[in-house]
């Protein structure tokens, strides 16, 4: 892995998202069938910072960071979708880009959840950032156990640490939400901050982006289903 590239990438992500005063939400929704197939939808909602995003998009760069144009964003998204389409086990890839409210959505079906790990590998190869080293999924249909493994990456934390204390606090409003829905009811789940829905079939985990960046929150979760 190219450490300098990864550091630069994280630095750019931190700095650009901090320009949005941290007001954004990332929602990841997984619908998992009993046989291990399902669908995933990832949504990045920057609507709360849309005034700033709109202003930033009119610039070609901010400081040392290049601001992508609408055309570039569309092209990058198209490329991402193509990579996803070419991943074995993935189908029905769709995406939307709302440049009025600044909401981006990417969704697909998967034959088995591990196909998402294949997608992460393909993306890692493309961007030379090892995503699979810190995020992966697995599901054992017969045992009814769903696992998500997450490992904190220190590079992101280092870049975050460069911001002033006041600016770090701006990330208080940035949220990461994971919703995992099953056909069977949930028996137990390991993560102490994750909640179970009334119908017992959905797990909801909401963490602040600031806690993820400071390694005070983790996304690792083991969910056991009632067989």
């Amino acid at each position: 892995m190219n450490k300098k590239y990864r550091t630069l990438l994280f630095g750019a992500i931190i700095s650009i998202t901090s320009l949005l005063t941290g007001c954004f939400e990332f929602v990841e929704k997984i619908d998992l069938q009993n046989n291990g197939s399902g669908a995933i939808t990832a949504t990045l909602n920057m609507s709360k910072s849309k005034t700033k995003v709109a202003s930033l998009m009119k610039l070609s760069s901010f400081g040392s960071f290049k601001i992508p144009s609408e055309t570039t964003v569309k092209a990058e998204m198209e490329e991402l979708a193509t990579t996803l389409k070419n991943t074995k086990g993935i189908s029905n890839v769709k995406y939307t880009l709302d440049f009025k409210n600044y909401i981006a959505t990417l969704s697909c079906n998967f034959a088995h959840i591990e196909a998402l790990n294949e997608f992460s590998k393909a993306l890692s190869k493309k961007t030379k950032v090892s995503i699979t080293s810190y995020n992966s999924y697995s599901f054992n249909p017969s045992a009814g156990v769903f696992k998500r493994n997450y490992t904190y990456t220190s590079d992101m934390g280092k870049e975050f640490g460069k911001l002033s204390n006041d600016d770090q606090q701006l990330f208080n409003d940035a949220i990461y939400t994971n919703i995992t829905r099953f056909e069977k009811s949930i028996k137990t789940q390991q993560h102490n901050q994750a909640k179970v829905s009334e119908d017992k079939k959905t797990s909801l985990l909401r963490v602040k982006a600031i806690d993820l960046l400071r390694n005070k929150a983790n996304l690792t979760n083991n969910i056991s289903l009632i067989n």
Binding site: S15, S18, L19, T21, E25, V27, N45, S47, K48, K50, T51, K52, A54, S55, F99, K100, N101, I103, G161, K162, L163, S164, N165, D166, D167, L170, T177, I179, R181, K195, S197, E198, D199, K201, T202, L204
Partner: protein
């Protein structure tokens, strides 16, 4: 009679001695084109010796002196420099040599011989001075009881490019390496001429079609019938030994360099006394003398700006790239002075640019203008900053043909005649007065304090089973706002365009104010025509107050006075920046946080360009530093003293 002559001569010699002993300006030769004056007295009096010493220690200057010159001290008072007088550094040009001279005032009973120039060789110079030169003889120094003079020189490159000069001194004028290389291959076989019938020309249509090779292999090419291939194959390349070419070039260059060095040494030494006690000096040069001795820390003067421009611009490159002939171009600028001054906690750079009579005639009326008095009623008190332009549109349009002839035509000599015709055409066709009625030439733009607005955004609401739906919510945000205004005595065309835009649903017209929605950003701009002023702003409340004659302004008249004295003014209130950034949520990098917070103790950063007076354009940039030190230079020294070492290394 004889006694009188004797007395007068003695007095003259004594006066010359005294004048040479006092301000060293008498030793700045008339040939000097660029001169910098370092006013030690003002620097010391406006800071303090103790602070300067500590700052020099922090910057490592004393350490450098100890290491490089074996001078061990931690106080500038121990150095031989006279701190109550000024140093001069100048750059003088002759046709053959360029000189850099440094004049430093020395204290009584200085010991410079013990500490400096120990490896220099003494020579017999002017009586009354100790003279030495460097081992390569390109640097000469001389000192007496109260001053030190250092002079370095370099050959003026263009002098020996003149064949007559080169021949006189035995310098061999040679072409550059590329030309010599090309000469060597003059008799090489020519490649096919582009005028040949068989030659290929680029055809865009063909290029875009799928192209298929007609032959499948090189065997299909008939090399035997290709004349160029035969010629190249038969040619005896051993006739061309490039190493000979390189040797020749190097030998000529080395010989020339050696000759030029010898000449430089001789001329430097021979001319040194003429610069040590110049017969004609700059003592009466107003550009060099007229500055505030109490507050000016450093003063700079430069003459022959046109010659300087022409020398520094890469004329050949500009001509090749843009087709512009800079040799014919004259700016019309005569001389320039710059002064770094401080007055209490304000640091200021003042400049004065001399212009020739032609330019003064053309520009004087353009910048002889006053801003509309009514602007004073509409100055928002709580503004972050503003800028203004103050010129006479009618005079500018009338002068436009002259600008074209004077400045632009010489740059493109091949189009000089058509440009002249275009210049006259603009004079004939333009109704300058009618255009000036559209926009008088005055314009002011204020950046208001940030304003709170309600904006909508999309959020998600979750039910008990964590199914989510999109909902629209509102939030308060701060955005910067502005107000601008300019005078227009004939607003018909603006109103017509605005009304047409309303008809096309591009604008809304509500109670006398036009509104333009900027959809992507959720913002709006407002346009108002009132009396002879056109207002454009982003705060509806302000424009409504202007419309209703209820706009309050306390600072209007003082700002108008500031603006009226200048052709261009820009002001930013630095003390408001930190709070504004916080409200806007613009993040600051941690390492800069402390300095950024300190901006709230600063005052205004101001840029002013004055009108033209007596053939000069005056301008100034000033910055009000925090008042706690009572002196701008003390504040800067304190910053140096309290900063981390890493930052100093970064700066220096």
């Amino acid at each position: 009679m004889h006694i009188k002559k004797y007395i007068f001569s003695t007095l003259a010699i004594f006066a010359a001695y005294c004048s040479y002993g006092q301000d060293l300006i008498n030793r700045v030769p008339k040939e000097a084109k660029i001169v910098a004056v370092i006013n030690h007295d003002a620097i010391v009096k406006n800071s303090s010796l103790e602070m300067l010493n500590r700052a020099f220690v922090k910057l490592g200057l004393f350490e450098a002196l100890a290491n490089e010159k074996n001078i061990h001290t931690e106080s500038i008072t121990d150095l031989p420099i006279a701190l109550d007088r000024s140093s001069y550094i100048y750059y003088a040009q002759t046709d053959s040599i360029n000189y850099t001279g440094i004049l430093i005032p020395l204290k009584k009973n200085h010991n410079i011989a013990d500490v400096l120039f120990k490896d220099y060789e003494s020579f017999v110079g002017l009586k009354g001075y100790e003279s030495k030169h460097s081992p390569d003889q390109k640097t000469n120094v001389a000192w007496n009881h109260n001053m030190l003079f250092v002079m370095t020189s370099e050959i003026e490159k263009k002098f020996f490019e003149n064949p007559d000069n080169a021949a006189r001194y035995g310098i061999e004028v040679q072409d550059d390496y590329v030309s010599m290389y090309e000469e060597l291959f003059e008799e090489a076989p020519a490649v096919s001429d582009s005028s040949d019938e068989d030659s290929w020309e680029y055809n865009e249509e063909e290029e875009n079609e799928n192209f298929e090779w007609e032959t499948d292999s090189l065997e299909d090419f008939d090399l035997e019938s290709d004349s160029t291939a035969i010629a190249l194959e038969d040619y005896d390349w051993d006739d061309y030994d490039l190493s000979d070419l390189e040797t020749d070039y190097a030998t000529i260059s080395t010989t020339n360099d050696s000759l030029q060095n010898s000449l430089l040494k001789k001329w430097s030494t021979d001319n040194f006394p003429l610069f040590l006690e110049p017969a004609h000096n700059n003592a009466k040069n107003k550009g060099l003398k007229n500055f505030n001795r109490k507050n000016t820390l450093v003063h700079f003067w430069m003459t022959d700006l046109d010659a300087f421009y022409k020398k520094s611009l890469p004329a050949d490159v500009i001509n090749l790239r843009f087709g512009l002939q800079t040799n014919e171009f004259t700016t019309g600028y005569t001389d320039l002075t710059l002064s770094l001054t401080q007055k209490a906690n304000q640091l200021r750079v003042e400049s004065s640019l001399g212009i020739d009579r032609d330019i003064e005639k053309m520009l004087k009326d353009v910048f002889k203008s006053k801003v509309n008095r009514k602007f004073a009623h509409y100055v928002p008190d709580d503004h972050l900053g503003y800028f203004s332009i103050n010129m006479n549109t009618e005079a500018y349009l009338k002068s436009l043909p002259k600008f074209i002839e004077r400045w632009y035509a010489p740059l493109i000599a091949q189009y000089k005649e058509p440009l002249s015709i275009a210049a006259i055409a603009t004079d004939v066709l333009f109704d300058e007065k009618a255009i000036a009625n559209l926009a008088n030439g005055d314009f002011v733009f204020f950046v208001n304090d940030v304003k709170k607005v309600q904006t909508e955004y999309i959020d998600y609401e979750y039910d008990e089973n964590y199914d989510y739906t999109e909902v629209t919510k509102t939030k308060e945000e701060y955005i910067p706002s502005f107000l601008s205004m300019f005078t227009s005595k004939d607003q018909r065309i603006y109103k017509k365009i605005a009304d047409y835009s309303v008809h096309k649903d591009e604008l809304e017209f509500i109670d006398g104010i036009y509104k333009l929605n900027i959809k992507d950003a959720g913002l709006a701009m407002y346009l108002l025509f009132k009396d002879d002023i056109v207002f454009l702003g982003s705060e509806l409340e302000q424009l409504t107050a202007i419309r209703d004659n209820s706009f309050k302004s306390k600072s209007g008249h003082s700002i108008l006075k500031e603006v009226n004295g200048n052709s261009f003014t820009a002001v930013a209130h630095a003390e408001k920046i930190p709070e504004t950034f916080k409200k806007l949520g613009i993040p600051i990098v941690k390492s800069f946080e402390k300095n950024f917070e300190e901006l709230s103790h600063f005052g205004a950063l101001k840029t002013e360009v004055g009108a033209i007076k007596k053939g000069r354009i005056e301008s100034a940039i000033s910055f009000d530093l925090p008042k706690k030190e009572n002196s701008a230079i003390r504040y800067i020294l304190n910053k140096i003293l309290s900063s981390q070492d890493g930052m100093i290394e970064t700066l220096f």
